[in-house]
Amino acid sequence: MLDTLRQIETPEGVFLRLRAAGALPRAQAWTIDFVLRLVVFSAAMIPLSLFGSAGSGVGALLMFVLMWAYAVVCEVWFGGQTLGKRAMGLRVVSADGAPVTLVPSVLRNLLRVVDILPGVYAVGLASTLIDPYGRRLGDVIAGTLVIHGGELPVGSQVPKVAPMAPPPGLAPDEQAVIVEFAERCGQLTPQRQQELADLLQPLTGCSGEAGVQRLLGYANWLLGRT
């Protein structure tokens, strides 16, 4: 099955699913960061230009900080998100899903020198397009990953219906699907709800609107409502 997930199994047998981010959201995040830094630098240079050579010296220092330290500071101390990444809901993590630490962060940002070749990030773009987890060369070498950190879209509250015990023998993932159906049925048309419920006619024993109601009843029971 085609997906953008990176699955990691912890020693406890728990599967962590990292939702790897690809070229397009990352390019947009970078653009936001670039514009922000440009604005900050320009705004700082206006008063600094009054101070002659000292001003341009401070300006050069500021430029250095914005180019090299900004990303590292944001990634290590502000949850793996520069402002642009925050706006796009992205996050830098280490390849095993742990928060990114200082050395990998410095490494991946230093390797921008390679990714930026030949001046417009063409190497980085090609790398993110080819790599299955959308990593640029700096990420590959530093062992980091950019993931979607935002919340997944969720359905609404399960509508309240008299709870009803489902037939025994449902596996946990099957129970989860019934609850998910109940959560999302607010977004579906009534016809579609009935189509879906009819699929489970062998289970519910009714069809049409009655089947939908019965599935909602199961979901209420599974959620522990009384």
Binding site: A21, P25, Y121, Q191
Partner: protein, 512 residues
Amino acid sequence: MELERITVALRPRTAREAIDLGAAMLRAHARPVWAAWFVFSLPIAALCIATGWLLQLPWLATLLIWWLLPLFDRVPLYVLSRAVFERAPRWRETLRGQRQWRWGGTIASISWRRIDSHRALRLPMELLEGLAAKQRRERWRVLRRPIGADATGLAFGCLELALVMFMGAFLFVLLFIPPELLPDWLRGSVGGVAHRTPEVTGALIAAVAYLAWSAIEPLHVAAGFALYLNRRTQLEAWDVDLAFRRLRDRWLAAGRVAAAVLLALACAWPHGAWAQKTAAPAEHKDVPVTHIEDTFAAPAGKDDQRFAEAAAQAFRDPRFGGEHKEHAWMPRQWSDKPKELKPGPMPLEGIGNALALGMKWLLLLLLAALVVAIAVYVARRARLPVLAAPSRRQAVLDTHLEAIEAQERLPEDLAGATQRLWSGGRRREALALLYRGCVEQVATALQLPVEPDATEADCLRSARRLDDRQQRQRAEAIVRAWQYAAYADRYPRDEDFERLLDGWPARHGSAA
């Protein structure tokens, strides 16, 4: 459409994740997508470049190729839409398939709707659903509502990426020119050649732009298609549908239900059956092939000669050419350095210089501090006894122990103290105190010492050995309440808490 045959993992995704899914789809089917893309678009692009060349309008070729991108978009969409549900078609099938897809939407998007930032999203709806115009408008409104902004962002993002590819190609070539050759070459090529041979430059730019779009435009289409799939998954709960089918199959196979009536899925993929008719492959076969090298050398050489002659003539003019010697007396102390290199006095220069001096010393101090810090670090690492500082962690641990010891003695009136803490809002402390009191009371009742490393489970175990059944239940209730508070941050209601306080062990004077 047979949903069971889908080869993409369906799950709720944000729109941006769906865009990345498009990239993954493209990566998985890169070969058939680009094979069909180049077979279809290369002749047209060559035709565009030739048109620009023949009409002497160097910008026309790039514009034409850009303008025709929505036409090319049909090809990757055909391959991907088949690949997602069946298998990726070969390029011959893809080209044949173009005949069966309607052309209305494509004609609209290469004429009055060319500047449409939602193109990638609109494309699958128009080509795959094939609805009538009125229904299509309704459908479009439903489809677009929450993801219109993402589709626009996608269009601009792809524009940005194509620009990166385009500039990257030129800068990449520039990277391999030795720097000593660079200035002359730059002057000779970009300035001179572009001016003197606009056709060659125009064709070159159009060709590179075509390659850049070839790299990015399939991504645009794939991401738009993935957005479309994601939106339909949302609207029609495809993932739930699939899971329900699996559940039903398992249920029936397990033989729990004897007979079942299966209803066919009403939602049918439009144009489900594709009549494979024989058709001629692509048009645009005979395009004149132009050799850039042939035309590149001739005019440039001729121009060079003309330029050399003109330059020689110019130098013969006494106003430009010739050498002059002039002698003059100059005072010695004035002639050491030209003044104009220095800019005029800046405002606030005094403050600036003071700041610069201060900064310099600050940086020097920082450097010194850094050196000292490194020296200390190295010395610590080498475990030199001189610099071994007392461990701070030890100190912290000691004070922590003291704090615990200070609280060690339980209050005489346990219930009262707990009640005060609870009503003061310190519910966690209240439960902790109650728990400790309970532990102590259990230990007293069993005539055992209180073990400092006993866990909650140990307490429960020892509580079960109590003779009195009510005491046993009460102790268990208290331990459970404490566990819920400590590990899940869930507190009992006020009346439940009151019940915990009632009688043993909080009021150990009274009977159970």
